[in-house]
């Protein structure tokens, strides 16, 4: 009884305003997931329907090193989130730089893979249906990595200027959600492109 009267006198506070960054990012992730789903469905639907070669089995090699780099960047960004929440800005900068480096290695790896596919194997976006679906799905993901890297670099510049402080930890967390999402999408893209639909 006593508990009930207390809740009436102090009206329940809804979700805190501070959570809005995360809720907004979850919404963005939902919308982005829908875009990726359509591209994944198209990839799977068209798998093996290409009228001419090369086939995925002939030219695709699982990018192990690349993937390990991208997945580790999720770990380094978690460390960065953790140290900025304790106000250790210098340490934050180091972990952040690691994240950027790992992301950059991934993008460079993709670039090398594409160079090989285009110039050595003759697979382009217009050469076959496989090329169209491959470059658009992997390219859409790579585009998201580049957007993420741009955001990471902007925050890195602010960090270098000494502008990122303890109070920005929640915002860093919201941005890190996006980076985790980009990593998670790679799990799906990697599985679909390099294992399922070969």
């Amino acid at each position: 009884m006593a508990v009930a009267s207390v809740t009436l006198n102090q009206p329940e506070m809804p979700l805190a305003h501070e959570l809005r960054g995360r809720v907004g990012m979850w919404c963005l992730i939902a919308a982005e997931s829908a875009i990726f789903s359509i591209f994944v469905v198209a990839y799977l639907y068209y798998a093996g329907k290409s009228l001419n070669g090369p086939t995925p089995r002939e030219v695709l090699h699982v990018p192990i090193f690349n993937s390990v780099c991208l997945f580790s960047s999720s770990f380094t960004i978690v460390m960065a989130e953790r140290v900025i929440a304790q106000g250790k800005t210098r340490l934050f900068g180091i972990w952040w730089l690691f994240t950027i480096a790992l992301g950059t290695i991934f993008i460079l790896g993709t670039a090398r893979e594409w160079y090989h596919l285009i110039y050595d194997e003759g697979l382009t976006i217009s050469s076959s249906l496989f090329g169209t679906t491959f470059y658009s799905l992997v390219g859409l993901h790579a585009f998201h990595v580049i957007v993420g890297l741009t955001g990471l670099s902007i925050i890195m510049i602010f960090t270098a200027l000494g502008l990122v402080k303890l109070e920005h930890a929640p915002r860093i967390e919201v941005f890190a959600m996006y980076w985790h999402f980009v990593d998670a999408v790679w799990v799906v893209v990697l599985t679909v492109v390099y294992f399922v639909a070969r």
Partner: protein, 562 residues
């Protein structure tokens, strides 16, 4: 330094500039604003502007089809007209108008001072505006180097392979793709904002169970927009890849599939219909209780029905594709799922009737539009059930029966609720009352026009008149119906003119409305009309679903019974 200051100062306060300032300041204020009310009004103004443009396009089409063997416009122009009419009405009228209302009233109803992300809000509005501009720029820039026609003419669902570079040379189709892509980014931004606002910005005491149904339904609509607009965005990216990078997604010559475009488009396209009509339900769910003097009947069921409509609508898209020849399993599934959506929708209609039942109904203009909506939406739903049966659809798919059905939903349903909402909240937004007599003229003329046009449109459909045809021969039995359909447009236009005159006149000369002209119950009526920039001087705290009822009736507050 000080010298420069003394030189500059007189210039700032020179009389010539003072005269010029207020106007430019006002324009500047509106352009740089991040206030949810101003952005909401800009969304609504933008929607109404394109409503007029889309309406003119429809009128030209009806002149063309009024009599057989007519050549009022060229076939090429006719194709552009129905493409632009459909695209405009869905993306540049429906979505902006509904987002406008959500923008203006969601923060007010939950006792907040603004949306969760005010700057994102402004960004989203200007992206939507840019999208509309890009689409309509096609009239000027669409012909490209080929001289291949101006505006897009591929139909609003732009089926492949008609959109391939070979069949749609020039840039008109690209303007269609990019215009919608850009406005889609705006839609996702606003939807994200509304979801976050409804979840995170509510005032103390406003639990999810006490949120006005308007906010609930807009929350569901926005959550749907997030996952529904994205497939269209994805499909349009694919189409751009096909058109510009030589891709083969929808190129049947290289193993691609034209049918997959249909799937992707309708995965967006059908839920989009519910995205449009759910805010219509939201208006009705606020207006009917206030003018029946009763709280909404079955609040929880209403929320549950909305959620299930949102969920079920994601699995009905292929009922647009019965005629392309799917497996019998697919036909059976999509027939069943489409009919299933009718159940929660029917529950809603009974809830609104239950709210009116035994109530002290006041027949004001908003209420009259709502009652019109109830009847017309029921009929629209019934023809929807008919079309959901795949054997029936094989007969009447792509006929004027289908055109009549979805115009019944979107005009008889949605536009009537939008007018109801415009009349209902006009006093809050402007601080003045509209004229009742002019409003009645508007209602009755528009109602008669609507029924002349869209009741009789079912008949040529049953008689075999296909949609999108440019003209037809005499002697098929279609002439008299087409003439009646076209005559109905005149009544609709005159009705709309009464509305325009009414709202313009009332803005300057209307009686002051006061804060709460309808004796309503939600928080937007607790503040002044129009609301101040900060909405509420003191953030309110609520204890029930009808906070203003509690305030007006301290002896018998709602929270005792909830």
């Amino acid at each position: 330094m000080s010298n420069a200051e003394t030189v500059l100062k007189p210039m700032v306060v020179s009389p010539a500039r003072e005269d010029a300032r207020p106007f430019f300041d006002t324009v500047h204020d509106w352009i740089v604003t991040v206030d949810h009310k101003k952005l909401g009004l800009m969304y609504i103004g933008y929607g109404i502007l394109f409503l007029v443009i889309g309406g003119i396009e429809a009128t030209i089409m009806r002149i063309q089809l009024a009599i057989p063997n007519n050549h009022f416009v060229s076939p090429q122009t006719f194709n552009q007209l129905f493409t632009m009419h459909g695209t405009t009405m869905v993306f540049l009228v429906g979505m902006p108008l509904l987002f406008g209302f959500a923008n203006y009233f969601v923060p007010l109803m939950i006792g907040a001072r603004d949306m969760a992300f005010p700057r994102l809000n402004a960004f989203s509005f200007w992206m939507s505006a840019l999208g509309g501009l890009i689409l309509y720029f096609s009239f000027i820039g669409g012909s490209g180097l080929y001289g291949a026609g101006s505006a897009p003419d591929v139909g609003w669902f732009a089926y492949a392979p008609l959109t391939a570079q070979a069949f749609s040379p020039g840039h008109s189709t690209d303007y269609w793709i990019i215009g919608l892509l850009v406005s889609g980014i705006g839609s996702i931004g606003t939807a994200l904002n509304i979801v976050t606002t409804a979840l995170c910005m509510r005032c103390p005491g406003m639990t999810l169970g006490r949120m006005p149904l308007f906010v609930w339904l807009n929350l569901v609509m926005s959550a749907m927009v997030l996952i529904v607009i994205s497939p269209l965005t994805a499909a349009q990216i694919m189409l751009l890849i096909d058109r510009y990078l030589g891709g083969h997604f929808f190129d049947t010559q290289a193993g691609g599939s034209a049918v997959i475009w249909m799937h992707f488009f309708w995965i967006f396209g059908h839920p989009e219909v519910y995205v449009l009509i759910i805010p219509g339900f939201a208006f009705v769910s606020e207006i009917i209780p206030v003018f029946s003097r009763k709280p909404i009947f079955g609040y929880a069921i209403m929320v549950a029905a909305t959620l299930s409509i949102g969920f079920l609508s994601l699995g009905v898209w292929a009922h647009h594709m019965f005629t392309i020849g799917m497996t019998s399993y697919a036909n059976a599934f999509f027939t069943a799922s489409t009919m299933a959506v009718g159940v929660p929708t029917g529950i809603k209609i009974f809830n609104w009737l239950g709210t009116m039942w035994g109530g002290k109904i006041r027949f004001t203009i908003p209420m009259m539009f709502c009652i019109g909506f109830l009847f017309q939406f029921l009929i629209a739903g019934l023809t929807g059930i008919m079309l959901s049966a795949s054997p029936f659809d094989w007969q009447l798919g792509n006929s004027y029966f289908v055109v009549a059905h979805f115009h019944y939903v979107l005009i008889g349903g949605l536009v009537f609720t939008i007018f109801a909402a415009l009349y209902y909240w006009y006093p809050k937004v402007t601080g003045r009352m509209w004229n009742e007599t002019l409003g009645k003229w508007h209602f009755w003329l528009f109602l008669i026009g609507f029924h002349l046009t869209f009741d009789f449109m079912h008949i040529p459909g049953v008689l075999g008149m296909p949609r999108r045809i440019y003209t037809y021969e005499a002697g098929r039995g279609w002439e008299i119906w087409n003439l009646i359909i076209s005559l109905g447009v005149i009544f609709q236009i005159i009705g709309i003119l009464f509305w325009v005159v009414n709202f313009l006149w009332s803005y300057f000369k209307g009686k002051p409305a006061g804060n709460d002209p309808w004796d309503a119950w939600t928080l937007e009526w607790a503040t002044t009309s129009p609301p101040p920039d900060y909405n509420f001087a003191k953030i309110p705290a609520v204890r029930s679903r009808r906070p203003l009822w509690d305030l007006k009736h301290p002896e018998d507050p709602d929270w005792k019974y909830e």
